[in-house]
């Protein structure tokens, strides 16, 4: 019985953590380029609403996800233009984008006939593998019961890790984020790299937002991210800009978030308000120790610093 509870809570942790895994891995790319994208929360909301809109219109969650990704990438270009080309303060831009994304997504959601907020989506992502394999011991529920987006998020995490540390462009990305002046002198296109990775980060946040409406909640409502974008930003820093660690952190976060559910199954009774802050405390403590033990900081040294070639 307790094994069943453990496995079920891990499965819930995976689905709760997936939007954070997607948005956070994207944010790793953006931050590795030296741009601090605090606007993730707003970008996710744009992905959520556009994805839901297209899915209710076409009946295809895949079409919804594609549009969510594209719309969010376009939305993140606001950050690109302001933070990279116009060298605005990235903290201000990021916070403003959250507010703007929230307002814009609510506006989009109030449009149409009937308005999006009152529509129901018949079409959502469904598990990839047939029901029969879900019951295989352990691996069934843990590895084989998921929808395509979860598998995509795993692939994305692996690709990000490989890309950052094992490819030429990834090396360039790290150089641009640590020291844009040196990267410039080495002939790398600093602004181009930053735009590209802001867009990739935006796209991934859009996928994370789309997952909320196309699977996790199967519905759209105002400000439905409820802080997940902020959590993604926090976990990126605590995971010291490594996507594999971020995956673990996001799932740990998901697991502790769903602890209330687990404890209910076990028949315990703990105030939910207390449980709500528990994930932050635990993830903080673990990651602080992990990153303190690290010999060499991975933090992009030029994070949140605009680059201007002729500055003297």
């Amino acid at each position: 019985m307790n094994d069943w509870v453990l496995i079920q809570s891990l499965v819930v942790a995976v689905s709760t953590g997936t939007p954070v895994v997607l948005a956070g891995s994207g944010a790793i790319l953006t931050q590795r380029s030296g741009v601090l994208d605090l606007g993730v929360e707003g970008t996710m909301l744009i992905g959520a609403v556009t994805g839901f809109w297209v899915t209710t219109a076409t009946g295809s969650p895949f079409a919804g996800l594609v549009v969510a990704v594209l719309a969010a990438a376009v939305f993140s270009m606001i950050q690109g233009v302001l933070a990279v080309s116009l060298r605005a303060n990235q903290v201000v831009v990021g916070v403003a984008l959250v507010i703007f994304g929230s307002g814009l997504s609510s506006f989009i959601g109030s449009q149409g006939d009937p308005p999006l907020a009152r529509r129901f989506s018949g079409a959502i992502f469904t598990p990839v593998f047939p029901e029969s394999v879900h019951d295989w011991p352990a691996v069934g529920p843990l590895l084989l019961s998921h929808d395509p987006v979860v598998y995509m998020s795993w692939a994305f995490v692996a690709v990000v890790q490989w890309y950052v540390f094992r490819t030429r462009t990834g090396m360039h990305l790290r150089a641009v984020g640590h020291d844009p002046a040196s990267a410039d002198a080495a002939g790398l296109r600093v602004s181009g790299m930053r735009y590209l990775h802001v867009a990739l980060g935006g796209a991934a946040a859009g996928a994370g937002g789309g997952y909320l409406t196309l699977r996790l909640f199967s519905d759209w409502f105002d400000d439905m991210t409820a802080g997940m974008g902020w959590i993604a930003v926090i976990l990126v820093i605590l995971a010291s800009w490594r996507s594999l660690r971020l995956l673990v952190a996001a799932y740990a976060f998901g697991a502790i978030s769903s602890l209330g559910f687990t404890l209910q199954l076990l028949g315990w009774n703990i105030p939910t308000e207390l449980l709500a802050i528990l994930p932050f405390l635990v993830v903080y403590l673990v990651m602080v120790f992990v990153s303190a033990a690290e010999r060499r900081s991975q933090m992009p040294a030029a994070l949140a610093e605009p680059y201007f070639r002729e500055s003297r």
Partner: protein, 506 residues
């Protein structure tokens, strides 16, 4: 006039303005293949600007450039690099958080898209073998010594196919031995047919290493000649525009007074496993005396300056200022008891670059009665005071409403000295007060120090420039591995002797 093809680089009438202010005016400059060409001038003469234009970092306001006989107008450092022109900046363009191999191969189109750390290291080794240079490729740049970083930077540029190598004040950060190694490397490259431009304000380096010299003054070219056809004296005159003041020499006409600063067996041990930063250091500075501390950088000078000024705590021993034990007093109370400090890294510890001059001269004096009424600052008094300091210390380039980051290095240093001396300290601790300054500015700083000594100020001078230490000190102290290995009157020692002490020989 030489044939166009013999010329690596030719500029014709290059001018550059920053915000309407002319920095370079109508400069013609020729570089031949296979020569080391020194670009000489005071701070602010336009040397760095000219090089930045050649390297594609700035665009000229007017003028044309040729590279190997073909028109050349790089729109970015990348384009310059592609064309074969690379620059070693004063601040290396190396990513500290990455390895030597990664840095050398950064931006290299030949690096495979998929790569491993060991593959990169092998490739970097190949590059280094080809040019006869060596830095362990798997080390992180942050862990390298300055000279090694510079070598890595040169290797990086050579690997990009650079044919014209520009070095901006390359020896400013090097020990004498590292500088010699650098010049050997450069000569070797020139012999291989590279064109090398060496930006410097050190006359000795021109004589020592260059074939040809171009002198810039206030943005204009004032001379271009073979090094063999000129003398240090000529170059100095061309560079400054007037004859240098006669040599300093020891001024014997002053008397020394009471003990101001006394250190007794001061030690600093931060990690029991390594050798102590300071080991049983005792020294005395009297009123009206300059005590010069010589030593190869990293032998405890920084730590010594820091324990005296209170930036670092002692592990054992006592520090007395005018007889009073100040070992455990705060920085603030040491300042109030008459200590002035010119820090080594003046840009980060000495000044707040983003603030105006009024705010900067007020640092350390912010609580003085003269400048404040309760919590309120008396701005007009402060402004007048700042103006007096500007006049007295000849600080140039100050503009109302602009932060002091617009000032040149020499003027920033004068500003720090002005601030510290205006408080009329009994004791001045000066770390590398002339580093990075040109001949004229450095001489002005030394004159100021001597004047203050005449007024009875005790000065503890830390300097990597041995001639400076011997030139103006009354007493010379030599540090080696955190200990004081010699302490003599300056008149009783010579450069060779002090050099041996600095190297740990007796």
């Amino acid at each position: 006039m030489p044939q166009e093809t013999e010329l690596a680089v030719r500029t014709i009438g290059i001018s550059k303005e920053f915000f309407g202010q002319s920095v370079l005016e109508d400069v013609d400059f020729d570089l031949r293949w296979g020569e080391i060409h020194a670009l000489l001038g005071e701070n602010g003469a336009g040397k760095s600007t000219l090089c930045s234009i050649l390297a594609g970092l700035y665009h000229p306001t007017r003028g044309e450039m040729m590279l190997a006989g073909a028109p050349y107008s790089p729109h970015s450092p990348h384009a310059a690099l592609e064309a074969g022109v690379g620059m070693v900046y004063q601040h290396f363009r190396l990513v500290e958080q990455m390895t030597v191999a990664e840095n050398i191969l950064l931006g290299n189109p030949d690096v495979p898209v998929r790569m491993t750390a060991s593959g990169l290291a092998d490739r970097a080794r190949e590059v280094m073998d080809r040019h006869g240079l060596w830095i362990e490729p798997t080390r992180y740049v942050a862990d390298l010594a300055v000279g090694e970083k510079q070598q890595a930077e040169i290797i990086r540029l050579l690997n990009r196919g650079v044919k014209v190598l520009i070095l901006d004040e390359p020896t400013a950060v090097l020990t004498p031995r590292e500088a010699e190694a650098l010049f050997a490397t450069l000569r070797n490259l020139a012999d291989q047919g590279q064109g090398v431009i060496l930006v410097t304000h050190k006359l000795r380096e021109v004589q020592q290493s260059a074939d040809t010299v171009t002198v810039l003054r206030s943005g204009k070219k004032v001379a271009h000649q073979g090094v063999e056809d000129t003398t240090t004296h000529d170059l100095a005159r061309l560079m400054i525009g007037e004859d240098l003041a006669p040599g300093s020499g020891v001024d014997a006409s002053h008397t020394t007074g009471d003990k101001l600063l006394e250190l007794h067996s001061v030690s600093v041990v931060s990690d029991a496993a390594t050798r102590p930063e300071l080991d049983d250091v005792s020294l005395t500075v009297r009123a009206g005396q300059i005590v010069g501390v010589a030593g190869v950088s990293g032998n405890g000078q920084r730590e010594l300056a820091e324990v005296i000024t209170g930036l670092r705590t002692t592990t054992s021993g006592t520090i007395r200022l005018r007889g009073e034990d100040i070992s455990s007093q705060t920085i603030g109370s040491r300042i109030n008891k008459g200590m002035g400090f010119v820090p080594e890294d003046r840009l980060t510890r000495g000044l707040v670059l983003g603030l105006e001059i009024e705010d900067n001269v007020l640092l350390r004096s912010q609580r003085d009665r003269e400048f404040s009424i309760g919590p309120f600052l008396r701005l007009s008094v402060i402004r007048q005071w700042a103006r007096r300091l500007i006049d007295r210390f000849d600080i140039r380039g100050v503009r109302r409403g602009l932060p002091i980051s617009v000032l040149s290095g020499g003027n920033l240093q004068r500003l720090i000295l002005a601030r510290e001396l205006s408080r009329q300290p009994a004791l001045l601790v000066a770390s590398e007060p002339t580093r990075g300054l040109d001949v004229g500015a450095a001489e002005a700083v030394r004159t100021t120090l001597k004047t203050e000594r005449g007024r009875g100020v005790g000065i503890l001078l830390f300097s990597g420039d041995l001639e400076e230490v011997l030139g103006i000190s009354d007493e010379v102290v030599v540090m080696y591995e955190g200990r004081i290995v010699a302490s003599r009157p300056a008149s009783e020692v010579d450069v060779a002797q002090v050099g041996r002490w600095m190297a740990g020989l007796t």
